[in-house]
């Protein structure tokens, strides 16, 4: 089992999913799987990492402890990011009509597998 296989499974199991990726907190993608050639998680790794870092800061400001998950909805897509181990996270991007609940569930299910691979 490798990262791509797990990411592919997540994307295929969620209606409206565009792509998924495993990214380091330094912004460098470890692996990704995308159904759209123009949707490149690797190239936007630094932006995802900035979002995670901002979320962690916000959480700390209110004394809410460790950040586990960030959910972002924009004009074009919804992105779910879940923290993996100490310094990585997995992200899943969905169309606006994508199944968000299913996406979160698939990510949660995949986390132990992905953590083993890290």
């Amino acid at each position: 089992m490798d990262f791509k296989t797990v990411l592919k499974r997540i994307v295929e199991n969620v209606d409206g999913a565009i792509g998924a990726g495993v990214i380091g907190e330094d912004g460098i993608a470890i692996d990704q799987y995308s159904t759209k050639p123009d949707f490149d998680i690797s190239a936007a790794g630094a932006e995802y990492s900035t979002i995670i870092s901002s979320a962690k800061k916000a959480s700390q400001s209110f004394g809410l402890g460790k950040t586990n998950e960030v959910l972002i909805s924009t004009e074009k897509a919804t992105m779910i990011m879940m923290v993996l181990g100490k310094s990585y996270f997995v992200t899943l991007a969905l169309n606006l009509d994508g199944n968000l609940g299913r996406g979160r569930l698939e990510l949660k299910k995949a986390i132990p597998e992905l953590e083993k691979l890290l």
């Binding site: 490798d2 380091g24 907190e25 330094d26 912004g27 460098i28 993608a29 490149d40 690797s42 190239a43 936007a44 790794g45 630094a46 932006e47 995802y48 990492s49 900035t50 979002i51 870092s53 901002s54 979320a55 962690k56 800061k57 916000a58 959480s59 700390q60 400001s61 209110f62 004394g63 809410l64 402890g65 460790k66 950040t67 586990n68 998950e69 960030v70 959910l71 972002i72 909805s73 924009t74 004009e75 074009k76 897509a77 992105m79 100490k86 310094s87 609940g101």
Partner: protein, 412 residues
């Protein structure tokens, strides 16, 4: 080419993508793939070429730094990672890599600084706690012989003069007050110095770690502002360097000595005074507010409705400059203190979403160990909601729909 066929295929695919779009950021994953394959010269070449086109893309510098580390070229690696650190001070990986390199280079003071920054961002990192201890004890081993010699000399000269030698002591409360004053006067370097001295004494002090992180944040904000308005900042720099005077330091020391003597009866009076001072400062903080008092009160009413919802701890509505228009928060949260900090977090997130070509940011939900945060744009401002760990994300989003409509009605 590497022995691993999957890695070879990945390199070929990335090379193809890069040749199709030479201006894209795909050079970073390609350089990283070369690094994984042990093709360091190719990785360096790709990174350097890419950085000529995208000099501010920090991920490329991180990859370049990693390549240099793997080639044992620590000086070059430090040079690259320091550039990343100057624009992204919260990058845990960069601080960790720098700390590890300084440790290898036996530059213990620098290693301590880097590990302390990691711990200020993630206090629970046991591995870094161990490394910090290692760097601190190595640092002390180096300074001990020098200190011993200095002490010996002091004792000798004192003995000759018939004086009694007293052991120097650091008063933690006074040091904390001095650091607070330095922070207030924007002399962040000195504040950081004081907090670091305190962390040398007690590396696991969470309060000091938290304050150090806050000072680093403030310092970063100041640097970012300076980059935006260099000519104005120069003037401010001159003023701020003149801000701390000997009188100020003496005042802090006097204040600390006096506060030691304050008995319990005097405490409430002092608190009243402080509250009065804070109230008198309030108009300065809220000078950017453009909404009328009536509208602010109407928004607060809406937020009060939200407070009644099970699982909601509090909420506030703020403008882009960090001014809090209305808030319904528990007493432990000081809305005025966090406003600007939160506004900068919102701004960073929006910018990242734009850079990803995902259009306008609508809503962000952050789930943490002990609760959830949600922020969403509402016309000219941002609505922020805090929920406890039991609140359901879906429910939170649903509640927000009505609240947003109500705030829009007030604002329009």
């Amino acid at each position: 080419m590497p022995g691993d066929p999957a890695l070879s295929a990945e390199i070929e695919e990335l090379k193809k993508k890069l040749s199709q779009n030479p201006d894209s950021l795909i050079f970073v994953p390609l350089a990283d793939a070369y690094r994984k394959a042990g093709l360091y010269d190719e990785a360096i070449e790709v990174c350097k070429k890419g950085l000529e086109k995208h000099p501010t893309y920090t991920s490329a510098r991180v990859v370049l730094g990693r390549v240099y580390i793997e080639k044992n070229k620590f000086d070059e690696a430090i040079q690259e990672l320091k550039k990343v650190e100057s624009v992204d001070s919260d990058n845990i990986m960069v601080h960790t890599m720098l700390g590890n390199m300084y440790l290898k280079k036996k530059m213990y003071a620098e290693a301590v600084e880097q590990f302390q920054r990691v711990l200020s961002l993630n206090p629970e990192d046991i591995e870094i706690q161990e490394k910090l201890k290692e760097a601190l004890s190595a640092k002390q081993e180096i300074t001990k012989p020098v200190e011993k010699e200095e002490k010996k000399e002091q004792i000798n000269s004192s003995e000759k003069q018939g004086k009694i030698v007293e052991k120097p002591q650091i008063d933690i409360q006074k040091s904390l007050k001095a650091a607070e004053l330095y922070t207030k006067k924007e002399d962040f370097e000195k504040a950081i110095e004081v907090y670091k001295e305190l962390l040398d004494l007690d590396p696991e002090n969470i309060v000091v770690q938290q304050r150090l992180r806050e000072v680093y944040d403030l310092q970063d904000k100041k640097l970012r502002k300076a980059k935006e308005k260099p000519e104005i900042k120069e003037e401010e720099k001159i003023i701020s360097s003149d801000k701390i005077t000997t009188e100020d330091i003496l005042d802090v020391m006097k204040e600390a000595v006096e506060s030691d003597r304050v008995d319990e009866e005097e405490k409430p009076r002092k608190e009243e005074q402080l509250q009065a001072e804070l109230k008198s400062e309030k108009p300065q903080e809220t000078k950017h507010i453009t909404l009328s008092k009536d509208k602010a009160e109407a928004i607060e009413k809406v937020l009060n409705v939200l407070k009644e919802v099970e699982g909601v701890i509090g909420s506030f509505f703020l403008l882009r400059d960090g001014s809090i228009i209305a808030s319904v928060l528990p007493p432990s949260v000081n809305a005025n203190e966090i406003g600007k900090h939160i506004a900068s977090i919102v701004e960073k997130t929006e910018k990242s979403v734009q850079n990803m070509n995902q259009g306008k940011l609508n809503q962000v939900v952050i789930s943490s160990e002990s609760g959830q945060l949600l922020f969403t744009e509402v016309m000219t401002g941002v609505l922020f909601m805090i929920g406890n760990e039991a609140i359901n994300v879906g429910k939170m989003r649903l509640i927000l729909k009505d609240i947003i409509d109500d705030i829009k009605k007030v604002l329009s």
